[in-house]
Point group: C2
Chain length 216, copies 2
């Protein structure tokens, strides 16, 4: 019999709360959290109705997001989303450059999260801003060549306003998981374990997820 | 430095896949998984739009579901949803009776999942049926009195068509977590660990969740 080893007290919740009317990627549907029926209006129960993009708040992109006929979120192996992860703190306030990260990614670092200056404020409570720190295209190619399984960031997109197609295609063609919209305010650089569980939605190019980190 | 201990290969996914048009509780909104934009139609990306009840597929009920001003899903402590769980196999094809379970719940059994005859077929691929096996009212009161934290079942509701209000109120007044819509086809009776992560949706009386079990 194996040892019991899951204890919620060990884990830090790095998930942004989904709220009615919260910020979203420009052009995506608005986030609506409403009540279908309510006790206040005489029903026996409250039943909440959710209308939201698959890319709301803390979420995972599947290959299908940028690759026609790519894998959907149900086809992503959970191995990419559960296990050891390295959090790298990025100093550059513009992008995550190849120069800055090239010596920080070891051959054993298969899951990476970038904590950037995006985490200096509660970005998820503000309006959308195009000036977030994002992954540079050459850094994306470097991570692909390193065989990284999963990459995470503390804003709604891993890529910037001008390199979104290139960066997503580089990462998703390699079937890397992209975890976006993390709340890293409480997290410093170092080694962690991650549990990142998206919903299991057939045909969806991504899904909101619950993400927990544990220092190791 | 603590030991790394999360490995996806150890875990069995007991989550029902969410699909466009799948069965749902009578009266709830239909489940719609559609595309806001598609590569096929000339967009740079596919973006999926989700419209669904908080009680779709495998999901967690929060107290707010049956208690006005009760706690929403973001206020449920993850401790209830992560840790040791006992799976009890129920023989009775009508309900989960107090008589059948009274000697199977020990003082240390804080999380329970009932595997019933609902798991004899892939219920989640069929139309809604009112004849599912459910928790009897006296059994719900027994679990509350035992101090159980969390209870799970293999159909869309822990309660039957005629005792829904009573059973949900008994469990949710005690702030028990209710995990409904589990796929237990691969699971036998015994001791497991559970990771059950609902989305973090402010003001929601529940949420779809991803649920994993590991034999211990």
């Amino acid at each position: 019999m194996a040892q019991e080893n899951i204890n919620a007290a060990d884990w830090i919740d790095v998930t942004v709360a989904i709220e009615h009317g919260m910020l979203h990627w420009p052009g995506d549907e608005s986030i609506q959290i409403t009540q279908s029926i309510t006790i206040e209006e005489g029903a026996v129960a409250n039943v909440t109705y959710l209308q939201l993009s698959a890319h709301t708040g803390t979420h995972v992109d599947a290959p299908l997001h940028f690759i026609d006929q790519g894998k959907d979120i149900t086809e992503m192996l959970l191995h990419r989303l559960m296990g050891k992860v390295k959090v790298i703190e990025v100093k550059n306030g513009a992008d995550i450059s190849f120069q800055e990260i090239k010596d920080q990614v070891g051959d054993d670092d298969k899951r990476l999260i970038f904590k950037t200056k995006n985490s200096n404020s509660a970005w998820y409570k503000k309006d959308f801003s195009p000036d977030f720190v994002y992954l540079a295209t050459d850094a994306a190619a470097f991570l692909r060549d390193k065989g990284v399984l999963t990459v995470g960031i503390d804003y709604l997109s891993i890529a910037g306003m001008d390199n979104g197609v290139d960066v997503h295609r580089i990462l998703l063609n390699a079937e890397m998981c992209i975890v976006e919209g993390l709340n890293l305010e409480q997290i410093g650089a170092g080694a962690y374990e991650m549990i990142c569980l998206p919903l299991k939605i057939k045909g969806s190019d991504g899904s909101p997820a619950r993400v927990l980190l544990k220092k190791i």
